[in-house]
């Protein structure tokens, strides 16, 4: 055995891991959370839009003269995303590509321009989020990961794809370093947003910068939350903590928070979404965590449950058998009680609450990041990696198989992901 070890040693003895690997892991963890949360924000807009579409159809069937035509939900022109750099040169030194995230803006065509930040800046800008009317942009900022604290910034967003008006800055104190920038999420109605401050709780902010803490004792013990979802009417926020993975539903304007303790044991909720009627859909995986499981250990069964918040009733959505032994299911959107569901690396499915599913078809580019829907719910936005060159780009791919749109240049791959969070402007 020692002989074999000596043979193997020669293959790795010169290898040195990246010096800042630990910090990169923290950043990667934060990006995954932010991606999920921004996806949730876009989903919130999609929910609202699809709900409006459903209402429109209802009105159409019972319409009387004089009612206004409902507005078809549309996509805005601009996509804003955070990235380390947009340097397309594959030979550019790693150090020139920046250590911190800036915000870029694009209207397609494979190009983008810097929107917020500067090359070589020590400040990370992250989690862009558009207000429901598309006229305000919010994002999170913070300095070096070793320094506690951050800010949420709100700015007007012009039709030309530039910031306009004065910025409103909301400082977010945190009591510990190594947390990412705050990640704002807009309510689907009105102009207010919410975000989670590590070990402090939920902060509600109006577009004018005024703030109010939503006091939930248990949140003061949380480092992070993985999902934060506004209800369609903007009256409640569903929160999925990282640590115990049991969701909370918090009334925004008073009332006791509800801890959904139905999820425990071997059930690991991974995503949450609201139905049009105000029930909460919780999706995740079911299976023991640890070393004493089956041949592949981490393979688990997905589940989707619907909780009636007012009564506490829980129903489980029967899932297709082909979904068995999946790593779980991730709900991307809900509208008219239909969901875009993602599982493993299979094409997305459309799932209804009765368990009927339709595979939406293979995607033009293989996804290499979290995915989110356009405001009209017809395109998937994600980062892809070119299999030949290894370069990355942000793309929007129509679910019906239409022509993809690229929102960034192809940029060389470094350690970890160049692109982080993204937001599509509502029309």
């Amino acid at each position: 055995m020692s002989d074999t070890r000596d043979l193997l040693r020669s293959a790795v003895e010169d290898f040195e891991p990246t010096p800042d690997a630990f910090e990169r892991v923290l950043v990667r963890r934060d990006r995954k959370r932010r991606n999920a949360r921004v996806a949730a924000g876009i989903v919130g807009v999609a929910i609202f839009a699809l709900a409006a579409l459903g209402l429109a159809r209802l009105l159409e069937s019972e319409r009387t003269t004089g009612l206004p035509e409902p507005t078809q939900p549309t996509n805005g022109r601009w996509v804003v995303f955070s990235a380390l750099h947009l340097d397309p040169d594959p030979n550019a030194p790693q150090v020139s590509r920046g250590e911190e995230l800036n915000l870029y803006v694009s209207d397609g065509g494979g190009t983008a321009r810097l929107l917020v930040g500067t090359e070589g800046s020590n400040t990370t800008r992250h989690c862009p989020a558009f207000s429901p009317d598309g006229e305000l942009l919010a994002w999170g900022e913070r300095g070096k990961p070793s320094v506690a604290g951050g800010e949420v910034v709100i700015s007007g967003f012009a039709p030309t794809g530039q910031l306009r008006g004065d910025e409103i800055r909301i400082p977010i104190p945190t009591i510990a370093p190594y947390f990412g920038p705050p990640c704002p999420t807009w309510s689907p109605v009105g102009q207010r947003l919410a975000f989670f401050a590590p070990r402090m709780g939920l902060l509600l902010a109006q577009a004018d910068g005024s703030t109010r803490w939503i006091d939930v004792g248990a949140f003061r013990g949380l480092d992070e939350v993985s999902r934060l979802e506004w209800s369609p009417d903007g009256s409640q926020i569903a929160v999925l903590p990282d640590s115990d993975s049991t969701p909370w539903v918090v009334p925004v304007d008073g009332g006791a928070p509800v801890h959904l303790t139905e999820f425990a044991g071997d059930e690991q909720p991974g995503s949450i979404a609201w139905t049009d009627g105000g029930s909460l859909v919780v999706a995740g995986s079911r299976g023991p965590l640890g070393l004493d499981t089956g041949p592949l250990g981490l393979e688990t069964d997905p589940f989707v449950k619907v909780l009636d918040i007012s009564t506490g009733d829980v129903s489980e959505v029967p899932l297709p058998t082909v979904w068995d032994v999946s790593q779980g299911v991730f709900i991307l959107s809900a509208g008219n009680d239909r969901f875009v569901a993602l599982r493993d690396s299979t094409p997305p499915d459309l799932l209804d609450l009765q368990g009927h599913s339709t595979t939406l078809g293979d995607l033009e580019y293989e996804p290499a990041s979290s995915m989110s829907l356009s405001p009209d719910g017809k395109q998937m936005l994600y980062v892809t990696i070119d299999p030949n060159s290894g370069a990355q780009a942000l793309v929007a791919v129509p679910l019906d198989g239409g022509e993809p749109t690229r929102y960034s240049p192809w940029t060389p791959r470094g350690f970890g992901d160049n692109y982080s969070t993204f937001a599509w402007q509502p029309g």
Partner: protein
């Protein structure tokens, strides 16, 4: 459903995780480098592995063997990587070329080429036992197979490696 307002003591999983990370990361990278033969891919998988461990640190940190969980996660990620490459091959995409440069690249190349010829399951057993000093029972737990199967794979992998490198035992 219940209405609960709890007061939970602030905890510091990031600090506890950091000491785990400092202890294990280099070894994990080296093991993955032996497994996949490419430093970039190895560290990519190692970072994703550690990210997943961090995301579940509340539970993984309480396990008897957090490092075992990490290696198991890494091997699962490696399997998924192989599946992804297979899917790409079906789509007639060319695999990403791997270049090995630098001093002593020849020696490293020989070992990596020899390892690459060994079936993935045997290679994993070899790395877990002969590089990470796990016993057959521990490696069996990580691989999800019987300890006897680990020993069989190990014997075959050692023989294949030595034959390929022209080493006599």
């Amino acid at each position: 459903m219940s209405e609960v307002t709890l007061s939970i003591e602030a905890h510091t999983p990031a600090r506890d995780f950091e000491s785990f990370f400092r202890d294990e990361y280099r070894s994990l990278c080296q093991a993955l480098l032996l497994l996949v033969g490419d430093a970039f891919e190895a560290e990519e998988i190692a970072q994703e592995t550690m990210t997943r461990v961090l995301e579940r640190w509340d539970r993984v940190g309480a396990m008897e063997s957090p490092s075992g969980y990490a290696y198991r996660t890494a091997l699962n990620l490696q399997r998924k990587r192989i599946r992804r490459l297979a899917v790409r091959a079906k789509r007639r995409f060319a695999p990403v070329p791997v270049a090995d440069v630098g001093p002593d690249a020849g020696d490293r190349h020989d070992v990596h080429v020899a390892l690459a010829k060994i079936p993935e399951g045997q290679r994993a057993a070899l790395i877990l036992v002969d590089w990470l000093d796990m016993d057959a029972e521990e490696a069996a737990g990580v691989l999800g197979i019987k300890p006897g199967s680990v020993r069989v794979r190990l014997h075959r992998a050692r023989s294949a490696l030595r034959d390929s490198l022209g080493v006599t035992s």
